[in-house]
Symmetry: C2
Subunit: 237 residues, 2 copies
């Protein structure tokens, strides 16, 4: 299997509502001498996608909890509360802290909501990149989530385009010739996590490229359709 290379796209300017995010990314990659290539997976952080899509909401700049009413508004159900922390199911079907809303890396006095439909956001960015960069790429929109039972946050995919969210290895044989029973690997979450390793939290790097991804994974995909679990099959709701 080919090696993977992961590198950040630096030089993306501050993103404002209506900005051509795909254009920014394609230009920044080219300017760094790393133009996008066919088969690249471009991971873009939720925050800049929300900014470009004008998902910014004014909040009281002097109240550190000013976004809490937005959390209730963006949630369809609260699963747990402890202190200021709310773990809820968002209207998009994600279960995460504070409905994915936070104040970091946003202008003072604003909170950034999640994109309305992150798969659609990924498709738009992908279309833009394919046009701007002249390469057929896949796009993942990533966000930083916690999880039960384990400390620490990891980046996961909240939207994707041009790549299957889950790769189903059921029915393939293991090294002993035994048919594997369940091996549905969530490759877009693994790719989002891999990209986070070169982005850091505080440096303003809003996108990264994973180069060398297995070509068989590329194609149609959707986080909402493939990853978000139905209530009926969920043991922890």
């Amino acid at each position: 299997m080919a090696d993977l290379r992961i590198f950040p796209i630096t030089g993306i300017p501050e993103v404002r509502p209506g900005d051509d995010l795909a254009g920014f990314i394609a230009s920044a990659a080219r300017d760094e001498g790393n133009p996008l290539l066919d088969g690249d997976v471009v991971v873009v952080t939720q925050k800049v996608v929300s900014k470009a899509e004008d998902m910014l909401v004014p909040v009281d700049p002097d109240d550190p909890l000013s976004h809490k009413p937005l959390v209730e508004q963006e949630s369809v159900r609260v699963l747990r509360r402890r202190g200021d922390l709310i773990v809820s199911e968002t209207k998009h079907g994600f279960i995460c802290a504070n409905a994915g809303i936070d104040l970091s890396n946003v202008d003072r006095g604003y909170a950034a909501l999640l994109p309305e439909d992150s798969d659609r956001s990924a498709r738009r960015i992908r279309d833009g990149l394919n046009h701007r960069a002249g390469a057929t790429v896949a796009v993942i929109v990533s966000d930083t989530f916690g999880r039960p039972w384990r400390r620490g946050l990891t980046d996961v995919a909240i939207g994707c385009a041009g790549i299957s969210a889950v790769v189903d290895l059921r029915g393939t044989e293991d090294s002993q010739g035994r048919v594997l029973q369940v091996t549905e690997v969530c490759v877009v979450d693994e790719l989002a996590s891999a990209a986070e390793l070169v982005m850091g939290k505080a440096t303003g790097v809003a996108a990264a490229v994973v180069r060398g991804v297995e070509p068989a994974w590329l194609g149609e995909g959707s986080v909402r359709a493939q990853i978000v679990r139905h209530h009926s099959e969920d043991l922890f709701r």
Copy 2:
């Protein structure tokens, strides 16, 4: 920030109880023309660690559910049952399906239990690699876990050595100069996921190298001490 390169270590022979796994890994990397270097993070899958440590238990080869009594034995508490699936807390503190026990990639008639102490396993492999390869590396022992609310499995860390499991970015400033409140990133889980992308499930590749990891993350670390959540702070148990 430096680019990351991730590559599989192929050519590790079938591992038997008592084998020198570190020696196998160091030799295979060297033989492939990719000798280990200072600062490399070597991700090793649980299955070969369990084999080398003789965590194999005989089971009825004709009964596909023969490992289920072992699941109960290795668990301290069952969280959920559905059909054949048991989600439990293992004696190590991990919450996962079937106590981490499965039959794939193990000789017919055997099941592989998790290592007794995966952090200790990682330390031993690290000591062996540092000696055999003449390079100071970090080691992560990885396993494939599901998670609530999202479909698909991802690889996570069950043990580590020579790297901090969680990198605490609390108190650092975001790009707006605002102090970030909570950004504890679980880098070892992200690294385990990244490594899985080049390993595949069915090809017998038992280890991978992540090269170019931020040097500040290297040092003392423990999955059990840093990642496994205490009952008192867990909202989903």
